[in-house]
Symmetry: C2
Subunit: 398 residues, 2 copies
């Protein structure tokens, strides 16, 4: 491969992300919206700058993953663990309702409502899949919006982040179930329970052990003379824990978030945070641009009957997706917080929804039209949340 | 590819680099020596942690290149352009003698001296190749050593860095010539002159134009509200200029160095330098570890007659390589500086020597034994320079 051309693509991605991010802020929107739009413009369906295949695409994928890992690591660093425990029950309730409702909506819509298109597999499997794609929450997008708006320390933000992380744990369970469905396997209670136990167990063990050991380890590292040893050790720690989480059957972002939570308890916390932030600011945009680049603009043009059918299904899915997550904001009546803000914060599906949709397409359970509709649902929920959250927050400050 | 496994490899590379770098410093050596040793240990001939093939190897290669680009960008940022002009003539003389002498040594040794092995091509072509592999200077290694030792602002360091950058320009010319030789083409004066003009022209035009335009551009960027926009813009600038240099027929590291020289004239210089440094500290070790990982330890064991022949040729090449570069220290008699320090600083061949050797091997001009000998020469010159420079500098401070 041509490294020079690849670096030029990287430079274009960074420049476009910052330019459109700036433009978004100037018109009163969160910067991440501009980065997503930059991705759409640089993507295969428009300018075609972001590579769509080959080694280059894999490289962009890895750098984007690095961006998500660094972003979740930074969010973990900035998360107050005690505050997190305080909002824990509320976040759990929001997450569970925000998974159960959209799943039920999607399942029953596909199973029982009349609709124009159908997949190649059997109806029940397809319905489970449609339901699953509606359950995801993109913690990355929402966290960036909250951080762009300077609201990371509000109770709503803590509940959203907590619920989104729990959603990722639940998402893993659902992912293993739907992957089984896609491969034709039966759903067993034992399998579901094992996946859940591994995901939760990893997070708990890592944080408990880590909060005990990491301060000692980083006190030692801090006595080393090597240049910038703290930031290098922190990044290695985040990458290592992300990888271990994935190898243990959990998700990388959960490992990265855990790494941040753990290192927020070290004495070198300030230095680590100060030096990790510019790093995350460079790689996270690559992730948001590549999410935007996966958007197919052709899906938005109702030129053929099939395209119109896709748009119709997409419209229904979007309504179900928004209602299901917004309703989750009312899931914890015993805690006081702004329920609409939390509900809207859970709406964006982002990358996780794309992963589910892609598995469904590859396995043949989702036909082209439904895949297109799911993609549209992911896009729209991802793009409407930033301005909606911004509007809700500015209403509250007036 | 498995992203989680790849992140684990990255974490291992970073941790090993910092641990062995620390160890090197504790025993009074520059940290980069420890990073090179870390690479040897993690490389294919020892633990095999650094991937030697496939997409993973390409990824490591790109990240290593990113490390070199960031390192040269940082060195450019820290370089005082006026001081550079002051040492310019001396650096030019050192560079030219440091290219001409080793080339002549290598050429005449291979052409006329009796030796055990021979390549498959004709003797003149092979001799040109051997000469070419001896001309390279690894600016990355020497710059890291000087920076590890805190001697970047000495006149010797400026001459070494200047000469090493000029060596890269000359190296490009030689590279295009030897690539032509490898492909069987005749050497033309026009071709050589064009390559030289492009390489020099790019550096001059980029720096002159850039020093005029960049301060205005970065004053504008500084007024943007996006988070960490300065560091992201700087990295995009460095990547873009590195890529442009390469596409214009020059080398990426020359573009990256030029980007640093240019941005050292902006008003936001301090912020940029502060935020780029931790970034370079994370990616540069990936480069040094991957240079170390390309070392084949089996070459050092004289178990067969072929291996002993390789060791013998390598011994001759090492002596020629060291003498040729050290002698270059006396190339500028009109300027006062410590000639042995400059000469020793030019000794490491590093990555550039490896690139030449690899082209020779692939084209069939260098047989297995000579290739092994060249590899050994590159390794030894790279590994002896850091402790030698360290010793010379500590002698001077006593």
């Amino acid at each position: 491969m041509d490294v020079a051309r690849f670096f030029l693509v990287l430079a274009a991605i960074l420049a476009a992300a910052k330019l459109l991010g700036e433009l978004a802020e100037r018109i009163g929107q969160p910067a991440v919206l501009g980065e997503l739009v930059a991705g759409v413009l640089l993507g295969a369906s428009a300018l075609g700058v972001v590579p769509a295949g080959g080694v280059e695409a894999e490289l962009i994928h890895v750098l984007a993953e690095l961006g998500v890992v660094l972003l979740l690591f930074e969010i973990g660093l900035e998360t107050d663990l005690k505050e997190m425990f305080r909002v824990g029950p509320a976040a759990l309730a929001v997450a569970m309702v925000g998974v159960a409702l959209p799943f039920a909506f999607g399942y029953f819509y596909w199973r029982y409502a009349p609709h124009a298109a159908s997949g190649s597999g059997n109806l029940v499997s397809a319905a489970i899949f449609i339901g699953a794609t509606l359950t995801a929450t993109s913690v990355g997008i929402t966290a960036r919006v909250l951080s762009d708006l300077g609201r990371m320390s509000t109770p709503e933000a803590r509940i959203i982040i907590g619920a989104a992380v729990i959603d990722d744990v639940l998402g893993l369970v659902i992912l293993s179930v739907v992957s089984g469905v896609a491969a034709g396997a039966a759903i067993t209670a034992t399998g579901v329970a094992t996946t859940l136990a591994v995901a939760v167990g990893f997070l708990v063990i890592a944080v408990v052990l880590g909060r005990f050991l990491a301060p000692r380890l980083f006190d030692l590292i801090n006595r080393m003379r090597a240049r910038y040893v703290l930031v290098v050790a922190s990044v290695a720690f985040a990458l290592g824990l992300a990888a271990l989480a994935s190898l243990a059957g959990s998700a990388m972002i959960i490992g990265a978030f855990a790494a941040g939570l753990i290192l927020s308890g070290t004495n070198q916390f300030d230095t680590i945070e100060r030096e990790v932030r510019p790093l995350a600011s460079i790689f996270a945009p690559i992730f948001f641009v590549s999410v935007g680049a996966s958007v197919n603009l052709a899906l938005l043009v109702p030129s053929t009957p099939e395209a119109r059918a896709t748009l119709l299904i997409a419209g229904v899915l979007i309504v179900l997706a928004v209602i299901g997550k917004v309703a989750a904001g009312w899931a914890a009546p015993w805690t006081k917080f702004r329920r609409l803000v939390v509900g809207v914060g859970m709406v964006p599906r982002g990358e996780v929804g794309l992963i589910f949709a892609e598995i469904g397409r590859r396995s043949g359970l989702l036909g082209e039209e439904i895949f297109g509709a799911v993609l549209l649902m992911v896009m729209v929920t991802t793009f409407i949340a930033p301005p909606a959250l911004k509007a809700l927050f500015s209403k509250s400050s007036r």
